[in-house]
Symmetry: C2
């Protein structure tokens, strides 16, 4: 039953004045010690950021296991020849980091892993119907030598991505798999991360590859990395770069509005392109119908911060991945109210929902007000503040000050004072 | 409360005849679908292997949190200049993978991260005593362009490593930190992984860097990657390569015997070498006294298999990281005994110790005998087998056949037949 002491927490905040970017999520992640730059488009994930990353990774693991996907990992380092076989080596151009080993053999750092995963399915032999669809995924570091890395984790050169590859005997069964993953992605964005009012799902063309089905999940973002066209009338939505110059909705001829966004997930029916090349053959002796799916783990975190925060003084994250659920602020001197709070902290840590989720702010060199402000900056939803008053009225039931932060608001709001019973009512449900 | 169905599990066993290596762990990991080769010295971790990796990572996370270390992650990709500043770029020679980005800037793939972590501690400002020692770690993919990658995960070119960096104000306080991590490493190997009878801790010289303290943890291994000299009389132990030609114990002059080993962990007092260069200064205005610590996650798995398995037909892993704790084998036809077993599976999955730990073998195209044999091959400790008999004596209490595997033995042993009560007695404790 672990608890984090703020006095021990590795914090390396960057002064607001030194952050040059206009990107709000980058400012907030730097100022709140979630990340630190280590090079051009490269960031260390600091302990506070790692808590957020680990939570999102765990959620995705749980959801993918629930739909029958199995976790694996292929090396980041791949011989260039498999990328040559899939005819993607030249297509990736300068975006792919390449290197040679000591024997002068060419390698690349993979931005995605269709080649490797299709190879794993080659030679599986006579796969039983019960084992289909084959659904393999990894959550691993990916590499892309971006022309203009910027906006922190929104467009970095190394990033954490979850990529899922599925293999079905034919398109109709692949469609069922595709719909199942699509439903999981919607559940993740809409329900679990509670981004229902923000996330935009859009059908995307598959470009040069032909008529395959593809969808993308976007979040509004002023970085203008991407843009969608939306019809307010019939709710149609298109990728702007696929419809240059279009200003009217093709369905209802109403005016389209542009929404600046960033892509946070994609789903794609690849067909047999890779399974043909890498000879991944189904029990019916045809190449598998393959789909691939991707979630930009680190990008989702940055994009969520952008969409939920309204000021550079108050970071907001989806509740499910916020670094802590509850901050408890203790006064410097051991007041009766502080003793009361300390007496029930062990009980709080035993609530399943709060295990590992409490930040105990024991930084007594900082005033209570300043620490409330810092809890607000970190966007910790629930904050309990023990009183520094030396006197307590023995005829009254002891209460603890309760503050709350919420998405879309930059302030921390005083809700009132809670009794022991009220505290346990609230925190057994969070 | 999840359960894994064997019929769905991604298995891609390699025929014994195609595995050329004499390395037992490599044979077993390939034959049992834990890994698959993707290139020279490069391996995919398959779902069964990923379960083992995830368990070991989680154990190490828990143990490191318990001693106050905080998890982070720095990019694998580092600009060559920070490695130049530490004068390690040329020292690493051809073992380091190097590459250039699209702007012709030189980068390397990091085999370790002293430079990055020391940089993170630079500029922390006035660190409060309560925040010391600073203990930061990561578990991340590391890269080394080995001259002779071999023996699977024992010497691969990409591998998962846990590296911890600690920063203290001076050597005496660093010694306390060092001892704390050393104790955690001993607990991990001796108690948690139950390798008490195998693990060898040895003091190592720090080579060219001078009189700093260093220890290594080794496991006996026929791969002869490394070797120790041991005195059976006074229990002294030395690294063979640091004492070439030595045949007598320096302490008691008795004969030394050679033990072929592989290194699985190291602890090292670095002093101020990196903190001076990267200006990581303690509150007392001197460079921090730094220690670094490493656990070869993927190597520990392979080395454990080598030390616990005695035949290529039966893989053995430490219980704490075996892919499953319990296999349940059901017959093809729904016999009364199968119905009995199925009736209590939900209760079993609710035992905290068995959540996610049960493999339900529903591969009805395989005989029960063959599936018992496969459970033995995977080294699943507990195996329950439902009877295929159509008749059950209504006057008798139903029982289920119970088999066990154990480390150091290649066979699966029939323990007897258990009643419902006996099963729950056993599995509430495993």
């Amino acid at each position: 039953m672990s608890i984090t002491h703020a006095s021990r927490l590795y914090l390396r905040p960057v002064a607001a004045s030194t952050v040059k970017s206009k990107c709000l999520s980058l400012q907030l992640m730097l100022r709140n010690s979630l990340i630190a730059p280590t090079g051009k488009g490269l960031y260390a994930i600091l302990p506070l950021g790692q808590r957020v990353v680990d939570k999102l990774v765990k959620i995705v693991d749980t959801e993918l296991a629930a739909i029958g996907a199995q976790k694996a990992e292929v090396p980041a380092l791949a011989t260039a020849d498999i990328w040559q076989r899939s005819e993607r080596l030249s297509a990736m151009g300068q975006e792919m980091f390449r290197l040679k080993d000591r024997h002068d053999v060419e390698y690349c750092l993979q931005p995605t892993a269709e080649e490797h995963f299709t190879t794993l399915v080659n030679g599986l032999g006579n796969v039983k119907p019960a084992a289909l669809p084959i659904m393999l995924y990894q959550t691993s570091q990916k590499f892309r030598d971006e022309m203009s890395p910027r906006f922190g984790l929104l467009r970095s050169r190394q990033f954490l991505m979850n990529d899922l590859y599925t293999f079905d005997v034919d398109q109709p069964s692949a469609q069922i798999t595709y719909d199942r993953v699509d439903a999981m992605y919607r559940r993740l964005f809409e329900d679990i991360l509670d981004l229902r009012q923000h996330v935009l799902r859009v059908s995307a063309s598959s470009g040069a590859m032909g008529g395959d089905v593809s969808h993308e999940f976007h979040l509004p973002n002023a970085s203008a990395e991407d843009a969608l066209l939306e019809c307010g009338h019939c709710d149609s939505r298109f990728k702007k770069d696929e419809h240059p110059g279009t200003s009217e909705c093709p369905s209802c001829q109403k005016a389209l509005k542009t929404i600046e966004t960033v892509e946070v997930g994609h789903t794609f029916q690849l067909g047999d392109r890779y399974s043909k090349i890498f000879e991944a053959t189904s029990p019916s002796n045809t190449p598998y119908f393959m789909c691939c799916f991707g979630l930009g783990i680190t990008r989702i975190i940055a994009a969520s911060i952008d969409v939920l925060s309204t000021a550079s003084t108050a970071m907001r994250l989806p509740k499910a991945i916020a670094p802590f659920k509850l901050a408890i602020i203790l006064p410097k001197t051991d007041t009766p109210n502080a003793q009361f709070v300390k007496s029930f902290i062990p009980q709080l840590t035993h609530l399943p929902n709060l295990n590992g989720e409490i930040l105990l702010d024991d930084r007594f060199d900082k005033s209570i007000g300043r620490r409330i402000n810092e809890a607000n900056q970190l966007g910790i939803e629930h904050v309990l503040v023990a009183s520094s008053h030396k006197y307590v009225d023995p005829t009254e039931v002891q209460r603890v000050e309760y503050f709350k932060t919420s998405a879309g608001s930059a302030s921390i709001d005083k809700v009132g004072a809670l009794t022991h019973g009220e505290i346990f009512d609230i925190f057994s449900k969070v």
